[in-house]
Each structure stands twice: as structure tokens, then as C-alpha cells.
């Protein structure tokens, strides 16, 4: 790979930049500075231990989420590979402080939690493992309230196409 070719600015570069951004967001860069009532700075071990999605959300945020079309959850209808299902969440809600992604049928529902410093664009993407057909839920914390979107991802044995 040439170090100075124009590819610096292509998709790969953008991918890397995005990857870096999401690492920063995911590790909570800066969020100890603004400890809100509902987002503890410590690793939320309890929430990740909850079996069901409702319990995980309650443990994390102390409240339940309301479905909102302002939460954009992108996931395949049928997974090409259940071991690495691409899921992305974005929103145009203002004052986003956290995004959680949950996989209802997994042994522990909470799959990922991202916390946002003020001014960070609220867009995250991850690849999640799911052994069987399951609802995937995105929860956005914005302005102290919770909003969610749900999509079913089908995990199939495959084959037998037309």
C-alpha cells in the first residue's frame, strides 16, 4: 500500500476514521466530565448481565423506552451470517447522551452501549452475533428521555433458493 496515494481519502480512510470515532465514543471519552443521573461512568456490568431486554434497559437507564421513528435502526431482514450481523443506529434527536443495542433472544440481551460527549454525531455501527431469529432493539437516550426502534433479524439455515 502506497502511503501517499489518493486512496488516503477514499472509503477505507473514512472507514478507519469512523472506526476511531466509534472507539472513542464507545470508551466514553470525556463522559466522566458530565455525570448525568442516568448514565454512570463505570462499566455497567449489571446491565450486561440481565437476560431480557426490558430488564437491561431498566438497569441501564432506570426507565423504559418509547418507540420513535426518529431512531433509525439498520439491520438486514435475513442475516447473511448470524455470527457477524451488521447493525447500525443513527438519530437526528438532539442532545443524545447514549445509544444501546439489544438482541432480545441472546442469552444476555444487551450487546453494546455507546456514550456520547456533547457535539458527537449520534451514529454507531457494530457487528453482533445472534444464534437465532430475534428482535434487535436500538435505544437512544436524548435529553434525559428514552426512544427506541425494533427490527426483526431472521437467522436461517439457508439453501433452497428459487
Amino acid at each position: 500500500m502506497a502511503a501517499y496515494d489518493s486512496k488516503m481519502f477514499d472509503r477505507r480512510f473514512v472507514l478507519r476514521a469512523a472506526g476511531l470515532g466509534s472507539v472513542l465514543a464507545a470508551t466514553g471519552f470525556g463522559f466522566p466530565l458530565r455525570a448525568s443521573a442516568s448514565t454512570a461512568a463505570a462499566y455497567p456490568a449489571d446491565a450486561f448481565k440481565q437476560k431480557g431486554e426490558a430488564d437491561a434497559v431498566k438497569t441501564l437507564f432506570g426507565q423504559a423506552a418509547t418507540a420513535s421513528d426518529k431512531v433509525k435502526l439498520d439491520a438486514p431482514e435475513i442475516a447473511e451470517n448470524g455470527a457477524v450481523v451488521p447493525v447500525s443506529v443513527s438519530t437526528d434527536l438532539p442532545d443524545v447522551t447514549a445509544i444501546a443495542i439489544l438482541v432480545a433472544e441472546n442469552p444476555s440481551a444487551l450487546a453494546a452501549l455507546y456514550k456520547f460527549a456533547p457535539g458527537t454525531p449520534p451514529t454507531v455501527a457494530s457487528r453482533l452475533k445472534m444464534a437465532k431469529t430475534t428482535p434487535v432493539i436500538a435505544v437512544v437516550e436524548a435529553g434525559g428521555k428514552l426512544y427506541s426502534a425494533t427490527r426483526e433479524v431472521k437467522v436461517t439455515v439457508g439453501g433452497c433458493g428459487g
Binding site: 431482514e77 435475513i78 431469529t133 436461517t156 439457508g158 439453501g159 433452497c160 433458493g161 428459487g162
Partner: protein
């Protein structure tokens, strides 16, 4: 047959005219049948309309020669799709579309009296006959403004195409003059195999919904557009005089799931509504096209749902599910209405879409799905010569007689077909298995009782790039779970969770299926031949083919040939048929599965 519908777009007028068209059109069929004994006179004489003509073919499955193909007697729609096109069979189909029983159209579009119809009206399709028809329809197009497009599954389905990895069909497609296409089985020749074919293909291969995986993008795998990651050109704009029409390609969304992932390791698929909407908006906003057409291999149910969610598409030219639907279905969405069509399979039909284009809008549209009757069309000499030259090197191997059919052998149907019954018998017998599984493909031609089965006929049911057989132990619980899983791919009430194709066929086992039941609970009474219930805990010896996992067995066509060669006669075992529940009165159920 002409089935006209004049429609203005967008808004109310289209719907009114559609309905008016439907009512007025029942008459010509009855009239012609009464007068002319259905000689097919006037079938291809079309009244001029509009200022541009699209010709759409799809799912020919490499059938270069005219074929017999029996349409399904079981094509069940459940939930919102119950009784709606394409989920109509037999009399319900005839009634819905105003077609007379016993007519040419009745034979072409339905399974009714198939054997009598086959003897009376003969074979359909074939590329030499298609070329004659295409040539005539192009010549008659207003101002010569015509375009021929193909919806995919063009380069797979015969022994010849499998041996040549689709190269034969590229030659035929070029001579036929296909200007744009999308794909499905084309991908099963692998990324390199597809690219090699595309290098020789004179038309454009379009797919808005195929992207590089993140790994492949990172490793700089080739793509049409590295910024978006799109592997192929998503759309093309065709000029008809001063008017411009965008054709967007939509490849089969589930290639790496329905087929071995090893064929397309760098590519990821999906329906991709959002990306499609952005593309449509771009074509309308920036390119200022006058109409937008989606050339789709989604399958009709998926297209119907897509049409309700994506706005700005005038017409979807659909394929994959092999539904021969005489008139498009209008679907409402936030931007107006979208017409959804599906043009059948195996070269039996050619859709003629006449467009009346105005600046920035489609003023009217007239759609006809013409059956391609071989006896009514003079085969094109140049295409005949090409087909003969393509077939010549394989004539001895593929022309060899293998057996005689004792009864009608067909494949299409939701649960079973006699051809698959025969395949399941062959797998069990030759591989000494208790249970056999055979995929519910919708391609594969039909042979009449008493007809000769050649090696080419065997390959027309079996020729894929992953046809190796397997024998493996499975518990009763595993078998049940596989059957439920495939059943959900067929009958999930949400079309976006369906993959197309029919139920996996089983040998040595019968069951009851309730398509309308919830996922995972559709099957009951799983019973082995001999009467014992399938034991969830017991391990059974199961044979099958076309697995998505790599297999080491011999190709299934050798297994079928060996089975047939024993007696030289294709007879079926007495396996109990699938019992279908909850479908009484369903217009998609024509009796015994």
C-alpha cells in the same frame, strides 16, 4: 393475448383506468375463443400506444429451446396475500384475469388440463422464437424506441450452461439484444465466473443492492464505485428520443443465504430500501428522468411490499418467483402509485410495456404479458444456427435417452412435484437413506407421460454449480427444525422475510403443514413411510443435494440417472403426499399438494 391497461401517473387516474381496463378486457378472450377455436390469430398484433416500448423477459433458466412448463396448482398466499395475485391458481386465476378455460392463455398461464393443452398448443419459449418476436415488436415500436431487458436467472438451468459456466447464454443474450439485466443464479458461477461473463456481455449488468463487504472494501476489491461500495452499476438511463427512462437493477437480495457463501465472499446483498429510495430521488432530482423502472429479482411478494415503502418508481418489472401475472398490480405509496409485474419463467412469456412519456412524468402505460407459442412464431435462423453450434459439442452426451416417463413429470408447486418425488426416490434408493431432501427450486421443465427423458432433461432439473449429494446423520428434531425453517422462508407473513423458492421436498417422510400457523409451529404429523412417527431423539440417515456447505458426493444428476437406468422407466414410489391444512377455499390451493 393482449391485456391492456392505460394508466396515467401519478394519482387517481391510474387506478380508475386500471379498473376500467380490467373490466373491458374480459371480453376479447371469450370472443376469440368462440369464433376462432383459438388458433392464436392476432395474438401478436398489438395496437400502437405511447412513445417508447420496453420488452421484459425473466427467469428463462437457460432454456434455449422451446419447453413444456406446467404452472403450479399450489401457490398459497397467506395473511394479506391470500387470494391476491400472484397467489391464484387454476379456475380462480382464469376468473380473476378473464381467461377462457381451454384457451391458449388458459394453457399457458395455468396448470388446468395441462396434458391436453400441451398436445394441442405445444411448447413455449425458445430463444429462436423469442428473437423473432422481439424483432417484430422492436420494429413496430413507436419511432423505433424500444429496449429489451432481462430480470436474471438467464445464465443457469441447463446442462449446457453449467458446462460452459454461462458463456453459452452470454452469446445467446448478445444475439437476442438484451440491453440491461440483473442477476441471481448468475452469481453461482462465483465472482470470477460472473466477471468473465460480464466481460463478454454486450449489455449492462445492473444491481443497486450489491455492496462490497467492509473487509473487501478495506482490501480494495474491485467495485463500480468505491465511495458507496457498490459492486455494480446501479442504474442506467435510456433515451427514447427526447424522453429518458431510468432502469434500476435489483439483484436477488439473498444470494449468500440461498446459495453457498463461498461463491460471493466479497459481496453483501439485501433488499436495501433506503439506498434504493436515495437512488430514485437522485435519478428524478438530478438526472431529471421522465420515468423510473425497477428491474427486479426480488420476487413478487417482496416487490409488492417494496412498492408500498419506496416512492417514485413507476413500474417494477419483476421475476424470481416465476409468477406469470397477466396484469400488473397497482400499489399505493407516499409518492403515488407503483405498478408491480411478474413475467413468468422459462421463456414462456415476453412482457411488452408501452410507455407514454411526457416531460417529467409517465402519462400512460399499457402492459401485456405475451405467451411465446412456438407454433405461432417462425424461429429466427441466426439464433437457430447459434443454438445448434452451441449444442453440437455436447450433442452425444446430452441427447442420450435415459428413460421414459410413466406419468407427467413436473416440479413447480409449494410442497412437491412429481419430478422432485422422483429425485427423492433416487436419493433414498441410490444412497440407501431413510429420508431424502431435495430443494424446492422453481426451475426445471416438464415431461409428458410416455415422453422420453434425455440426459439434457435430467440436467434441466439438476444442473447447478453445487449439485453434489450428501448423506449424513440427523436427529428427528434437526430434520423438523430444517423443515420449519424452510417453511418460514416460504410462508412468513412479512414478504421481506421470505426468500422465494418452494418448500424443501422430502422422501420417506410425510407431514401436515398449516401455512397460516406461526413460525416454527406449521408442521405436524411427521410420519415415516411405513407409518412410524418421526422420533425427535432418534438419528436418521438422510440424503440430499445442493447444500450450502461444501459436499464431497457425486453430482445428483448421476444419482438420478443411475436410478432411472435400472428400469429405463420413471415410476414413482408410493410416498404419502403432504397434507396441507387451513387452506380450504384458498384461491392459491388447487387441491392435493
Amino acid at each position: 393475448m393482449t391485456r391492456d391497461l392505460d394508466a396515467s401517473s401519478p394519482g387517481l387516474r391510474r387506478r380508475q383506468l386500471l379498473q376500467a381496463g380490467g373490466a373491458a378486457l374480459a371480453l376479447p378472450f371469450l370472443w376469440r375463443r368462440a369464433l376462432a377455436q383459438d388458433t392464436g390469430a392476432g395474438l401478436y398484433e398489438l395496437q400502437p400506444f405511447g412513445n417508447a416500448r420496453l420488452l421484459h423477459m425473466t427467469d428463462t433458466h437457460a432454456q434455449l429451446r422451446p419447453v413444456l412448463f406446467r404452472e403450479p396448482s399450489v401457490n398459497i398466499g397467506i395473511g394479506a396475500m391470500r387470494g391476491r395475485p400472484p397467489h391464484l391458481v387454476g379456475e380462480a386465476f382464469l376468473k380473476r384475469f378473464g381467461i377462457a378455460p381451454g384457451s391458449r392463455e388458459g394453457y399457458a398461464f395455468t396448470y388446468l388440463d395441462f396434458e391436453a393443452g400441451a398436445k394441442r398448443y405445444g411448447r413455449l419459449g425458445g430463444f429462436a422464437h423469442l428473437r423473432s418476436l422481439v424483432g417484430r415488436l422492436r420494429a413496430e415500436a413507436p419511432g423505433g424506441h424500444a429496449m429489451l431487458v432481462d430480470g436474471g436467472d438467464l445464465w443457469q438451468g441447463s446442462g449446457l450452461s453449467n458446462a460452459r459456466k454461462g458463456a453459452d447464454m452470454v452469446e445467446a443474450a448478445n444475439l437476442l439484444g438484451i440491453e440491461a439485466m440483473t442477476g441471481h443464479w448468475e452469481f453461482t458461477y462465483g465472482q470470477d465466473g460472473l466477471r468473465a461473463n460480464l466481460d463478454r456481455f454486450k449489455g449492462e449488468f445492473l444491481a443497486q443492492n450489491v455492496f462490497l463487504t467492509e473487509e473487501a472494501a478495506f482490501n480494495e476489491a474491485p467495485a463500480f464505485d468505491s465511495a458507496s461500495g457498490r459492486v455494480f452499476k446501479p442504474a442506467t438511463v435510456k433515451a427514447f428520443g427526447d424522453r429518458r427512462v431510468a432502469i434500476i437493477g435489483q439483484a436477488f437480495p439473498y444470494v449468500p443465504i440461498a446459495h453457498p457463501k463461498r461463491f460471493t465472499p466479497d459481496w453483501t446483498f439485501g433488499i436495501r430500501d433506503h439506498e434504493l429510495q436515495a437512488l430514485v430521488d437522485d435519478l428524478r432530482g438530478k438526472e431529471k428522468v421522465d420515468a423510473v423502472v425497477l428491474l427486479s429479482h426480488n420476487g413478487m411478494d417482496v416487490d409488492l411490499k417494496l412498492a408500498s415503502r419506496v416512492s417514485g418508481i413507476d413500474l417494477i418489472l419483476g421475476g424470481h418467483t416465476h409468477d406469470a401475472v397477466p396484469e400488473p398490480v397497482a400499489v399505493e405509496n407516499s409518492g403515488g402509485k407503483t405498478l408491480v409485474s411478474n413475467a413468468g419463467s422459462n421463456g414462456k412469456f415476453l412482457a411488452v410495456v408501452d410507455l407514454d412519456l411526457a416531460p417529467g412524468s409517465l402519462r400512460g402505460i399499457r402492459y401485456r404479458l405475451l405467451p411465446v407459442f412456438a407454433d405461432l412464431l417462425k424461429p429466427d435462423a441466426e439464433m437457430e444456427a447459434l443454438i445448434a453450434s452451441l449444442e453440437a459439442p455436447h450433442a452425444a452426451a446430452f441427447g442420450r435417452r435415459v428413460a421414459t416417463a410413466e406419468g407427467l413429470l413436473y416440479r413447480r408447486g409449494n410442497f412437491t412435484g412429481t419430478m422432485d418425488h422422483l429425485l427423492c426416490d433416487a436419493l433414498r434408493g441410490q444412497l440407501d437413506a431413510e429420508i431424502s431432501l431435495s430443494p424446492g427450486f422453481r426451475w426445471g421443465t416438464t415431461t409428458l407421460a410416455g415422453g422420453e427423458i434425455t440426459a439434457a432433461d435430467v440436467l434441466a432439473q439438476t444442473a447447478t454449480t453445487y449439485s453434489e449429494v450428501y448423506v449424513q446423520p440427523m436427529t428427528g428434531a434437526q430434520i423438523r427444525s430444517i423443515l420449519e425453517d424452510v417453511c418460514d422462508n416460504l410462508f412468513n407473513p412479512d414478504p421481506y422475510y421470505q426468500q422465494g423458492g418452494d418448500m424443501v421436498r422430502v422422501g420417506g417422510l410425510s407431514y401436515r403443514c398449516e401455512p397460516g400457523a406461526e413460525s416454527g409451529k406449521r408442521l405436524s404429523n411427521l410420519t415415516l413411510t411405513g407409518g412410524a412417527p418421526l422420533d425427535p431423539a432418534r438419528t436418521y440417515k438422510v440424503a440430499g443435494w445442493a447444500s450450502v456447505n461444501t459436499q464431497e458426493g457425486k453430482p445428483v444428476w448421476e444419482v438420478l440417472e443411475a436410478h432411472l437406468g435400472r428400469s429405463g422407466r420413471a415410476t414413482l414410489s408410493a410416498d404419502k403426499p403432504v397434507e396441507v391444512g387451513g387452506v380450504a377455499g384458498n384461491p392459491g390451493y388447487g387441491g392435493a399438494a
